[in-house]
């Protein structure tokens, strides 16, 4: 036992060191301001008292909370049918549906809300049609409605991915027993399947909650100012406003996010979700009756249409010439793609490099952290989890400024450049910011692996290292791939931290290019085209990794296992 702690201990220590240097120190550099008296520079809590006394901030706080909760509700409504139908029934096109269901996560900044406004805004396509036929309009995008709609469409894949992974991991013998005992339909889902998939659902839902609570881009694009994250951002970035309130709000965002994570920990504590046998063992997927199938397809298509509407709008925008106060663009053209491919290929290769590296770092760290936290007795192991998750609550701007402040005078030896303006810093920023996604996915996967399997391996003489590499990691592979995909997909379109850190145009990623284009009247088309390219890249990557999971699952079914094991 004592010897077994050394390996994980060293791993935990080096990850802890990495997080300390690249997360805690830079963030501390920035939020230190929150505790400084703006008049004297002394340490104080006066700024927090001001915060709670300001009616605007109270209002913002309530709005943020309301939007986050409603988005979780709406996102669950999108995710649950898709996840359940595709994992539990023989359903044509399940992989396609799963892939399409993840695409909304890949919405490059700026273009998503633009497309949604063009479709659902007060004078968007849908309302123009409704107005012409029935003489009224529906306020889809008015005020907080718009934020909730865009956020839940954008982030519901977090629930879908984690819930699907969890559903696939449930021992089907459980369901089989329940069915033998007479349960079916909703009752089977409500009493057996959903409770067993709880870790996945809670992992996804808490991510949605956190992301929406902290999200900056969507409210800003829809010009909603009375929420916490936009308030923090507006205060930090405005020239000439020197009060520490922006930093105070950042601290409060961090604190609140940690609190909600802790609540989700509490909700899952004391329950055992591990099943000894993995998915492939029991009952295979069930068949649906013809009319059930039609109903299910109708629901699935309706949901997919809604959640893919930003992309549909984006595609129209990228092929359209002028689209102004009309149901569809005036005419269609390929010119925008031509201009993108003649000027912007560097953005694409940079994005693949940065997001790929960042996601790789993320899953390696996430697997290690998950193992250390849930399988060892190291002192302070929970803190590793907390700190890594804390990154989810750090606004990108804060991290960006923190990096500039911390690393600008540190020259990297061989390349002889300040670390803050070397492209690797962008990769690190992306890895830190996306680590929480990978971590939640890996923790959920590990929670479903029974410790008995590891003990069995160790009883048979395998070392700790070998057990982890040959037993734990392969059994977690679904969750690990889910984590990789989420991290990669979202890193590929992140902007808020990178915009502070890009120091040469040749280092700029896609999101930055889109941002550049979208700042000019003539750039809307090319910007949308670049956005479509980004979506395609990540979509293809997602599809490929799904195929990998599928193949792994086939390998794990008993017959194949026997034949390869013989």
């Amino acid at each position: 036992m004592q010897r077994g702690q050394w390996g994980p201990g060293a791993v935990a220590l080096s990850i802890g060191l990495f997080l300390f240097v690249f997360l805690l120190v830079p963030v501390a550099q920035v939020i230190y301001v929150a505790f400084q008296d703006p008049n004297t520079g002394a340490l104080t809590l006066i700024n927090f008292i001001d915060f709670f006394n300001t009616s605007l901030f109270q209002e913002s706080f309530v709005n943020s909370l309301y939007v986050a909760v409603m988005s979780v509700v709406l996102a669950s409504a999108f995710a649950m049918p898709l996840a359940y139908f595709t994992t539990r029934f023989n359903f044509g096109g399940a992989i396609l549906i799963q892939t399409l269901g993840i695409v909304p996560l890949i919405m490059p900044p700026f273009v998503g809300a633009v497309a949604m406004l063009l479709l659902f805004g007060e004078n968007g396509s849908v309302n123009l049609i409704i107005d012409e036929w029935f003489g009224f309009t529906i306020p889809f995008m008015e005020g907080l409605n718009g934020v909730i709609l865009v956020e839940s469409v954008h982030y519901f894949p977090f629930i879908l991915i984690n819930l699907s992974a969890a559903l696939n991991n449930i021992d089907r013998a459980m369901e089989e027993s329940a069915q033998n005992l007479g349960a079916s339909g909703m009752r089977l889902f409500r009493r057996i399947v959903f409770p067993l998939a709880m870790p996945g659902y809670v992992a996804g839902a808490s991510l949605v909650f956190l992301k929406v609570f902290d999200d900056l881009a969507t409210p800003l694009l829809l010009n909603i100012n009375t929420m916490l994250a936009p308030q923090a951002y507006l205060r930090i970035t405005s020239i000439g406003i020197g009060d520490p309130m922006g930093y105070v709000i950042s601290v409060i965002l961090v604190a609140f996010s940690l609190l909600s994570l802790w609540v989700s920990f509490l909700a899952l504590r004391g329950k055992d979700y591990a099943t000894a046998q993995k998915g492939g063992g029991g009952l295979m997927k069930r068949d649906l009756k013809a009319w059930e199938k039609i109903g299910c397809y109708a629901v699935v298509i309706l949901i997919l249409l809604l959640v893919l509407s930003p992309h549909i709008g984006l595609a129209l925008l990228s092929f359209g010439t002028v689209w102004s106060f009309s149901v569809l663009p005036d005419a269609f053209t390929f010119a925008h793609y031509e201009s993108v491919f003649s000027t912007a290929t560097q953005y694409i290769s940079n994005t693949l490099l940065y997001a790929g590296l960042a996601a790789t770092i993320d899953v390696v760290f996430a697997t290690a952290i998950a193992y250390v936290v849930w399988r060892t007795k190291l002192v302070g192991r929970q803190w590793l989890d907390f700190i890594a998750m804390g990154a989810v609550a750090i606004p990108g701007v804060v991290l960006g400024i923190g990096y500039l402040r911390t690393f600008v005078e540190f020259n990297v030896p061989i390349v002889d450049k300040p670390l803050a303006s070397w492209w690797v810093i962008i990769v690190i920023a992306l890895a830190i910011r996306r680590l929480p996604y990978a971590l939640r996915a890996c923790v959920a996967a590990l929670q479903q692996v029974s410790v008995a399997l590891e003990e069995a391996a160790e009883n048979l003489g395998a070392t700790k290292r070998r057990t982890v590499l040959r037993i734990v990691v392969p059994l977690m592979s679904g969750g690990i791939v889910a984590g990789f995909v989420t991290s990669f997909a979202t890193a590929a379109v992140e902007l808020s931290a990178t915009i502070m850190l890009v120091s040469a145009q040749s280092d700029a990623p896609l999101a930055y290019g889109i941002y550049e284009f979208m700042q000019a009247a003539a750039g809307r088309g090319p910007g949308a085209a670049l956005g479509i390219v980004a979506v395609l890249i990540v979509g293809i990557a997602t599809y490929v990794s799904h195929r990998i999971i599928e193949r792994k699952e086939i390998e794990r079914t008993p017959e194949v296992a026997l034949s390869t094991g013989a």
């Binding site: 703006p38 008049n39 520079g41 006066i46 700024n47 001001d50 915060f51 006394n53 300001t54 009616s55 605007l56 633009v114 406004l117 805004g121 007060e122 004078n123 005020g143 800003l220 694009l221 010009n223 100012n225 507006l234 970035t237 405005s238 020239i239 000439g240 406003i241 020197g242 009060d243 309130m245 010439t321 002028v322 689209w323 102004s324 106060f325 009309s326 000027t343 400024i401 500039l404 600008v408 005078e409 020259n411 061989i414 390349v415 300040p418 803050a420 303006s421 492209w423 915009i499 502070m500 890009v502 120091s503 040469a504 145009q505 700042q519 000019a520 009247a521 003539a522 750039g523 809307r524």
Partner: protein
Amino acid sequence: MRTMFRRRSIIIGAALTAVLFAAPYQARALENKLVIVTSYPPDTTVTVKKAFEAKHPGVKVEMLKKKTTAGIKYLQETSGNNTSDMFWASAPDAFEVLKGDSLLQKYQVKVTGIPEKIGAFPINDPDGYYKGFAASGYGIMWNSRYLKAKKLPVPKKWADLSKPIYHGHVGMSAPSRSGTTHLTVETLLQGEGWEKGWAMWKSIAGNFKTVTERSFGVPDGVNSGQFGLGIVIDFFGLSSKASGFPVDFLYPPVTTLVPANIAIVKNAPHPKAAAAFIEFLLSPAGQEVLLNPKIRRLPVNPVTYAKAPKGFPNPFKDKSIGAAVKFDLQRSKERYNVVNSLFDVMITYRMKDLRAATKAIQTAEAKLNGKSNAAARKLIDEAKALVAKMPIDAAKAGQKDFNKIFKKKRKKATTKVTGRQAEVEQTWDAMVKANYAKAEELANKAASML
């Protein structure tokens, strides 16, 4: 792999420099690279970059696109180990901030023929740190299809935008978010006076559909038809029109022309190339690039207008553009942050309350129209006065000590100021919110009497 690529490009760069040194070129004196931090879109930067590189083939220009505010932060944070040569953006006050932090380098321009002033505004920084290369003025842009569908007339002056017919159809950015918007707000305040100016802004803002976070959000919203009219800087309107959108633009009588600027960053790694860039931008060839339909900025060299397309505004000939207000830069600078904060507290963050109060007043006035009811009239006037009421007067807004509360930096640890911004803003907000609610109530009461 990347570092290898880097190394190779360094070798190629070195080879290129060798070739250049061998050639009897004037370009020999320039460095082979130039890094410009800019807030301009690629339409502008790429076009100018191409023209410049054609003139100085040895110099490779790198444009680093940052939003103006982010660009300032970037230069401030990296000043310890600076890698940027120039800062190139619109808002003069952004350059003032950098100048104040002594992050800019003085430069004496060699090109001649640029006048001292455009409209009522000096083109160059009197201290010689930054140079105006183009001018821009604020105005109103509108979507023709939108106006036609909603049967709205084209407005001619700022006051038109406060008419009830435009309720919910107007968009604008916040002065705290965009330096040029700040100038528009300040221009009207100086032109109409503090109380009257703010009353005018609030009655226009009561018609706002939205206050956008980015200044580009306004032309974007008008172009796509989210709202019909926008208060924008001229080149947004002119370039949108040139890109084929069904939009148009005009300058109202009270506007001011402001130079867009360029400056060399202190300790620039490539100072000679930077100097050449300024000279190029101000030369006839560089000025002509501004007339490109995708850029559409007003050149500062009067001669260039001879080559402009028909109907292109010429502030050196048409004295009505930007000359009505004698803009007092000093006063604007003194109360800069207070004006921003007031606008946000009273308008941006209280949009819903302000809109509701304005709507109620407009409804009551429409009902009153043609009838005589002294009591209702009195209530409406009271409601209007409540909406217009300012938390502070012009004297207070210009006070040095008061402005210190809103100032960004305590330069030294020993600097001491009393009062905190959040505290001040909370008092304003409480007052404004109560006034708007009361105004709505009074207007509703008036309406019920009619």
